[in-house]
């Protein structure tokens, strides 16, 4: 069964016909070709598929496509504005917080949400916020550093 959904993705409105049993992850990757959203487990465990749904991070592999009707979605592709990278994106490159890069989109999105609700997180708060994002390459240390650096950079710009 197909459903028609209206939703906003990275600032643009879309109307799509989606299958009931497809997930938001599939719709974003396969119908909208937003392939920055990654599939690492399809089971809510790895966080690679994390997107913002109405401002909050969710595992898009566990959201049914029709449930996204009316929602506002932001994916990693929507983080930069007019080729101006988000401070997190800058910091991830500078700190060496990405290696293979497969976990990176989900971690960036989840970190964005963290900084939106807590502009000055502690080390422990960053770690706790990121437990749902597995990274096999970096060992997390540089990711934590990058989030801190981005928080700092962001506060400098908009105190």
């Amino acid at each position: 069964m197909n459903h028609t959904i209206h939703f906003t993705v990275n600032g643009e409105p879309f109307t799509l016909s989606v299958a009931s049993h497809h997930t938001l992850l599939q719709v974003l990757r396969e119908q909208l070709v937003l392939t920055g959203v990654k599939n690492g487990c399809e089971a809510g465990e790895c966080g690679a598929c994390t997107v913002l749904m109405n401002g909050e991070p969710v595992n898009s592999c566990l959201v049914l496509a029709p449930e996204a009707d009316g929602a506002t979605i932001v994916t990693v592709e929507g983080l930069a504005h007019d080729s101006q990278l988000d401070p997190l994106q800058e910091a991830f490159v500078a700190a060496g917080a990405t290696q293979c890069g497969f976990c990176t989109p989900g971690i960036l999105i989840n970190s964005r949400a963290l900084l939106d609700r807590n502009p000055d997180p502690t080390d422990a708060e960053i770690r706790a916020a990121l437990v749902g994002n597995l990274c096999r390459c970096t060992g997390y240390i540089r990711i934590i550093d990058a989030v801190k650096a981005a928080a700092h950079a962001q506060r400098e710009v908009q105190p």
Binding site: S20, H21, L62, L114, N133
Partner: protein, 325 residues
């Protein structure tokens, strides 16, 4: 996932009728964090999935006229853990909700779904057992209330009847002098499924009326376990204790002997004995996450730590802990 239909019912009666008609082919959906995993794994093959989140009240947290806190079944873990009333009065539940999985997952996972799924390891359950929650269901014969300890009937089994679904979780009012602690042990430091978990709750025996209009609820279950003492109870002996254990039995379990022992003696030796009694109340099994022996041992450790932290909280600031100042 194999194809199924997705239906948003317009009202309670329609939802119930759909579930009634569909039998096992039709499954209710809240956050989907249990349901979709099971569908994807091929363990169940529903033909229809009924999304209950949009029914009135399902996503609301309100205080009832009787002073009970009513949590809509579709409230997410993050929503519950962040709600000011939960944080102030039922902080034990907030601790439990925050221990679940990851921040992202808690934005979808609901407390209602956690209970309906009825895993012995459901992390919100021990807290709800301690708070003596009452589950409200809607079904063909109308509204039904089920005490939490009767709601869980076995691993992945709950007390709902065909056509019934959970609508809300009702928490009785708590006295101002109360505190709770939820401790869980996982393999990773945060966010793992519990190897075991223990919730500990203590409240002063009295049920003093507060400015917020709390009162004894007529449907109060298990009121008998409360001591009759009135007035300011400064003495720890007059505390009522509740201990609930997760992931160490077919359902979450209360540890009544441990609770009674603590009411008698909350000295360090008394706490150690109660912790031991809690471990004896557990009915753990061996599985790939841990052995029964380890689980039993850890129930004692977590129970002791929980009791000590409750004592510390109550001792530290008796008048503000767990209630309105």
């Amino acid at each position: 996932m194999q194809p199924f239909d997705y239906i948003v019912p317009h009202n309670f009666a329609e939802a119930s009728a759909l579930l009634m008609a569909g039998n096992d082919d039709t499954r209710p959906l809240l956050g989907g964090t249990d349901l979709l995993i099971r569908v994807r794994g091929g363990f169940i093959r529903p033909e229809r999935i009924i999304d209950l989140k949009q029914l009135p009240g399902m996503c609301d947290i309100v205080r009832s006229a009787e002073g009970w806190l009513v949590i809509g079944a579709a409230c997410t873990m993050n929503q519950v853990a962040g709600h000011p009333l939960v944080r102030q009065e039922y902080e034990l539940l907030a601790q439990a909700c925050e221990s679940v999985a990851s921040y992202q997952l808690r934005n979808r996972a609901t407390v209602g779904g956690n209970c309906c799924n009825a895993s012995p390891a459901a992390d919100s359950a021990p807290a709800l057992y301690c708070l003596e929650a009452v589950m409200e269901a809607y079904g063909p014969s109308g509204v039904r209330r089920i005490p939490i300890h009767e709601f869980f009937t076995g691993p992945r089994c709950n007390a709902l009847r065909p056509g019934e679904f959970l609508t809300g979780i009702h928490l009785p009012p708590v006295p101002s002098r109360s505190a709770g602690a939820f401790n869980k042990l996982g393999r990773t430091k945060i966010g793992d499924i519990s190897i075991v978990s223990v919730a500990v709750w203590a409240e002063a025996g009295s049920r003093k009326l507060e400015a917020g209009g709390q009162s004894k609820h007529p449907e109060r279950v298990d009121g008998a376990t409360r001591t009759a003492a009135d007035g300011q109870s400064k003495d720890a002996e007059r505390l009522t204790w509740r201990i609930a254990i997760g992931a160490a039995g077919p359902t979450p379990l209360r540890a009544p002997e441990a609770e009674a022992a603590l009411a008698e003696d909350a000295s360090p030796e008394g706490v150690a004995r109660a912790a031991q009694l809690a471990a004896e109340a557990a009915r753990p099994i061996d599985d790939i996450r841990a052995s029964a022996a380890y689980r039993r041992g850890m129930v004692a450790v977590l129970a002791r730590r929980g009791v000590n932290s409750v004592l510390a909280r109550l001792g530290a600031a008796p008048s503000v802990v767990g209630g309105q100042p």
